[in-house]
């Protein structure tokens, strides 16, 4: 039950992120959408390590430790996602110098 709720909420966040990217015209909101999607995926990964009544995977164990592998993946993926988002923000700042706007409808010099 716990697990299902975790997955469901993660998927909902994922879809909210996608919806944000698709419908918002502000570039910063696009980045927010990306961050939401990323968080959702991480949530799914972390949830998959869940064990009912689990304890932290630090020796010596006191009981039934949870799966440590998803934690490691999450740590890795967080850092990667953070780099992506930092880079996106940097691009937006640079692009703002040229277009004087962060409106996606006006940032479309490349088309056709």
């Amino acid at each position: 039950m716990m697990v299902t709720m975790g997955y469901t909420s993660a998927l909902i966040i994922f879809c909210i992120g996608l919806y944000t990217i698709m419908t918002r015209r502000n570039l910063f909101k696009t980045v927010i959408g990306l961050a939401l999607m990323e968080a959702a995926v991480l949530l799914i990964i972390v949830t998959s390590g869940f064990i009912p009544g689990g304890t932290p995977p630090i020796a010596p164990f006191s009981g039934n430790p949870v799966n440590p592998l998803p934690h490691a993946f999450t740590l890795t993926a967080i850092v990667i996602g953070a780099s992506d988002i930092a880079l996106a923000l940097a691009f937006i700042i640079k692009l703002h110098r040229h277009y004087k706007t962060v409106d996606l409808d006006r940032i479309r010099g490349l088309r056709g």
């Binding site: 990217i21 990323e38 799914i44 890795t76 880079l87 996106a88 640079k94 692009l95 010099g109 490349l110």
Partner: protein
């Protein structure tokens, strides 16, 4: 040992460049050249190791189910060879253009080399994702390197789409891990067929979409024409020639290992993506006025050809796809370098402005002619041969529609390459002639680029002429055989 060096040597080079810069404030061409040489030879050594005796490297000494493994079989070796040739050419062009100047450019370049070798060698799904991220971040930055607004916009769009693609790859990886608890690709190849159908659908769709976005196949190709046309000449050549191929390797590896045994429509989907890419890419290229954008759309179409080959799910199809990947690397790198140089000399990228070049740049134009004839698929050239092999394997796979699409694509591509060539050959307008009659500005010698382009053109001829020779057939068919032989891969990795 050689396998890990192919990744570590370029990484070390990338880490050392900032230190050299801090110490000396300038970088000499010979230093970068030496580092490049070391990286390329490390990659080639790995390729030869993998080719002559397929090898596995256990990182940290951990068994495949515990740690990460690097695997070099014929497929990875072939792509390593391709990537080495391509990166060497791009590095030479960059050195010729920038000299030792922009140290950050070279740092990112070496990181890109390391990550490409990583993608080609890794045998672990999550590790593939990590290397894909280095690869993508480096690619976004190389696209944006020129800092023009086009480059920045292209970089941003590439970044957003690429990140979404990466998130889907990560989601697919996560689902795979949830369903099986393992990430080693060889072990997954054994376990995946036994997981529930719905999960497999979700996994395959997520991985396929993510990899398709990274490759630039048609319905999700939007970043590709922007990025490839806005980047610097050498970067465009690298993007179109090598980076796309690395993504195609990932698609081949993942789809063959995971989905050959599971049944389902993955390969049908790949074939459909390929066919749409061929048509869409060619049709879009037909209406471009910007020569680099035209070449970029042509790349979309060529990706489609390769994907059709992959989608045959047969050894012949894989061999044809790899052959076409090689050919496309040669052709498109040559075309991009030529187009970039000519456009720089003429200070315009509009096709109608690129006139009278036959007189001023005869060698460039004739190389361009040979290369475009090859990419259109004029008979004695390699492009014709690889397209023929793809048509053959696609007919062998039982559907003839992709083959027809390829035939149609040939005609459309002939139309737009002819337009470019006729512009090159037609005499210059009166008005612009008087404008350029002004003392010619200092024309940089482009000896290395010219040598590269002409040698690529010659290689195209040679590859075309020798396509039916036993050496070439054996080379590519052995790649095809290993690509679809999942059992041998599993045996190689697990030692069973």
């Amino acid at each position: 040992m050689t396998l890990v060096l192919a990744i570590v040597v370029p990484l070390l080079a990338a880490f050392l460049i900032p230190l050299f810069h801090l110490a000396r404030k300038t970088l000499s061409v010979s230093l970068i050249g030496f580092m490049g040489l070391a990286s390329i030879s490390a990659a080639l050594a790995a390729a030869f190791t993998g080719w002559f005796s397929p090898a596995v490297y256990l990182l940290g000494g951990w068994a495949p189910d515990l740690g990460i493994v690097l695997v070099a079989d014929h497929l990875s070796s072939a792509f390593l060879l391709l990537a080495s040739i391509g990166t060497a050419a791009a590095l030479a062009c960059s050195l010729e253009k920038f000299r030792g100047g922009p140290w950050r450019y070279y740092t990112i370049f070496f990181l890109l080399i390391a990550s490409m070798n990583g993608i080609l060698l890794t045998g672990d799904l999550f590790n593939l994702f990590v290397f894909y991220e280095i690869f993508s971040v480096a690619a976004y930055l190389l696209v944006a390197f020129s800092m023009s607004w086009q480059a920045l916009e292209a970089g941003l769009k590439y970044l957003v789409l690429g990140t979404i693609g990466a998130l889907f790859i990560l989601l697919g990886t996560a689902l795979t891990f949830m369903a099986t608890g393992i990430l080693n690709m060889a072990l997954l190849a054994e376990t995946l067929p036994s997981i529930p159908g719905e999960t497999l659908t979700a996994i395959s769709a997520c991985l396929l979409l993510g990899l398709a976005v990274k490759t630039g196949a048609f319905p999700v190709h939007f970043w590709l024409p922007d990025a490839h046309s806005s980047a610097q000449t050498a970067v465009s050549a690298l993007l179109s020639g090598v980076l796309v191929k690395v993504s195609i390797y990932a698609i081949m590896r993942v789809s063959y290992l995971f989905f050959l045994g599971t049944g389902g429509n993955v390969f049908l989907a790949i074939t459909i993506i390929g066919s749409i890419s061929v048509l869409g890419g060619h049709l879009m290229a037909l209406r471009q006025d910007d020569i680099k954008r035209l070449l970029a759309y042509s790349t979309v179409a060529q990706i489609g050809y390769i994907l059709i080959g992959v989608g045959c799910a047969s050894a012949a199809g894989a061999a044809a796809a790899v052959f076409h990947a090689f050919n496309h690397m040669l052709m498109k790198m040559g075309l991009f370098i030529t187009a970039g140089t000519l456009a720089e000399d003429k200070k315009t990228r509009e096709i109608c402005g690129l006139k009278g070049l036959w007189k001023s740049h005869p060698l460039w134009v004739s190389s361009f002619t040979v290369l475009s004839a090859a990419i259109v698929g004029i008979p004695p050239m390699n492009g014709f041969m690889s397209k023929w092999f793809i048509i053959l394997s696609s007919a062998g796979a039982g559907t003839v529609i992709p083959a027809l699409v390829i035939a149609a694509g040939t005609v459309i591509s002939a139309a737009y390459y002819l337009r470019v060539l006729s512009a090159f050959i037609s005499p210059e307008d009166e008005r612009s002639e008087s404008a350029s009659a002004a003392p010619p500005r200092r024309i940089r010698r482009k000896g290395i680029s010219l040598a590269l382009v002409t040698s690529f053109a010659l290689l195209c001829l040679v590859l075309g002429a020798t396509a039916f020779s036993p050496i070439s057939r054996e080379f590519f068919s052995s790649i095809g055989d290993t690509a679809v032989d999942v059992g041998a891969y599993v045996e190689l990795v697990t030692g069973r």
